[in-house]
Subunit: 352 residues, 2 copies
Amino acid sequence: MTESRHTVNIKSRHSVTIKEVAERAGVSLMTVSRVVNDKGLVKEVTREKVQKAIEDLNYRPNISARRLAGGQALFIGLLYHNPSPGYLTKILLGSLSACRRNGHHLLLEDLGEKTPDSEPKEVARSLKAAGLDGVIITPPMSNHMPLIKAIEAAGLPVVRVSPDNIHTTKPRVAMDDVLAARHMLQHLVDKGHIRIGFVKGPSDHPSAHHRFEGFEAGMAENNLALEDALILEGDFTYRSGLDAGRILLSLDQPPTAIFASNDDMAAGIVASAHMLGLNVPDDVSVAGFDDTELATNIWPELTTIQQPIVEMSRRAVELLIAVIRNDKDTVNAYRGLMDFKLMSRDSVQSID
Amino acid sequence: MTESRHTVNIKSRHSVTIKEVAERAGVSLMTVSRVVNDKGLVKEVTREKVQKAIEDLNYRPNISARRLAGGQALFIGLLYHNPSPGYLTKILLGSLSACRRNGHHLLLEDLGEKTPDSEPKEVARSLKAAGLDGVIITPPMSNHMPLIKAIEAAGLPVVRVSPDNIHTTKPRVAMDDVLAARHMLQHLVDKGHIRIGFVKGPSDHPSAHHRFEGFEAGMAENNLALEDALILEGDFTYRSGLDAGRILLSLDQPPTAIFASNDDMAAGIVASAHMLGLNVPDDVSVAGFDDTELATNIWPELTTIQQPIVEMSRRAVELLIAVIRNDKDTVNAYRGLMDFKLMSRDSVQSID
DNA sequence: CCACAAAATGATAGCGCTATCATTTATATA
DNA sequence: TATATAAATGATAGCGCTATCATTTTGTGG
């Protein structure tokens, strides 16, 4: 903050226009616009003069004027269907942030009211009729192929968030569940656990396969044999975790650690341990997946895999813009899978 | 959808302008604008003609143009600090919806990075400098009086969401915790419960007082005596619910129902019951408050009080706009407390 | 110094709509 | 019928900015 700034009557965000900056810097409107938009073709001396005027006047561009004049504002649809609130929050934060930065509109579309199973074509048509330029589809609808095909057939570009087929060549944003599950398994092995139980998600759910695949790969890497009695299947609910935990912890030789395919089931397993008078993590360590709100609500807090949801949704917006703009460089730059994070908390400990 | 619509080449949302509607309806731009904005001074016959043209062409106003021309777009700051994700989601959905409908900008401000306890004036100054027209403050910051006073002193109108002092004459949006708690207590009594335990929130938290006040009032209305041993204090965490549940359920005469001041503690009480080999709700009914995600994640699902958060945040935006516009009628219309909803689920049952 | 090309800068119409003032039409009254 | 008033409609400048074309400045080579 320069001293001269305190003598300027700053009324509101919209009072300082590009005209005033131009006058103060002694250049034209267009030169200010070029500086603001990093357009090049501006001499460094001139640029510095303009930058100073911008700072002195606390100039902020008027987004509405930019959009109207530039005619470049896109309308991006974000489709969701019964997400967990924690997941939707992060999706919203990331996508809103990316839209704001790029001067685009984000329109939320809750498919819960639309019974998408019945009429994919009708949904696609109404999205098109709403004037959307492209669509981001979040789980679980990111795996609903009839709907996706209908939207693409309607001529709308689509970016999918965490589709089950992460190897698709179509635009998608995802992290690697297999690698993340291997990482968690390795974490348990590094803590000395050898006898490790695993609770799968529902077999009709491909992400459940990916997580199990990572568990299997990690066991193989550590030359640990899979034992059928230690591998059960749940349905991603707390109740199914309760049931699985009761079975695993009642074995003659119970596991010293249990890795559940999501946090809800992990929380149910913790509750089962407590029902059986066991202490977590002293008697059994429990790990989850997803880092939902539940993971830190219960006691002890869960060790789990955190998905970078905010960053994924931000990237989904940027990828969709690149697709719409036919910006192949950016599309290619975003092919990679995103990093996850292992959140080590109180539900896992080393074997003494 | 009329038949004639299918013969129109609809390119995108921005292709149909007010000019095209005017031509089709045989009126001026301003007449279309008046119809679109419900401005009055338009004959019914003319209005119908314009409406038909709007529908035929699927005209949608260009928000950027409206904001730029109208010069009425406000920048509304939404301040939050470590909210639960479920809470923030609903706040976002409601406030975004209200902002979109009114053509205003919503700017999110996460106070978590700003250590608001240290510099309320600095926070207020930066909000003002960002060009905001007004601010919505969500819990827990809606009770941070130094910050609120600093923001008001900086000349920014403030609307608080769920402040602890719901009787304040300053603009706020809230529901009645006392009445809601009375309602839940009555629900338990109507189910035949007489011996009812209560777990308070932390005594330095005014909403905890309100909920206890409602419990007390409901007990008095039903001529039920308060028994000290049945009333404990937790700190709104799952762990404190575990502890309180263990104590209450180990009494010589345990309660037949326990009402916890929030869902986290209620979930901990359910876990304690399970640890003690008790069945919920057969052996003890458990009720919570807030209807957080946790309430339906655990098993059995909690009977609880649901706050109308989406509607509250929508109203907060509209109230703030009314304050900024000095629209006293609307400000007065929004003085009332908002309705809650009792969500009756599996954790409470009648005494046989 | 001159000619030419490239870089830098400037002027302005227009983006879609609305606030405001001007004009036209309809209605009421004498 | 004439006049005044109210209701309804229309014309247009301008909101803040950018795409585009025009003009000026600078740098290079002969």
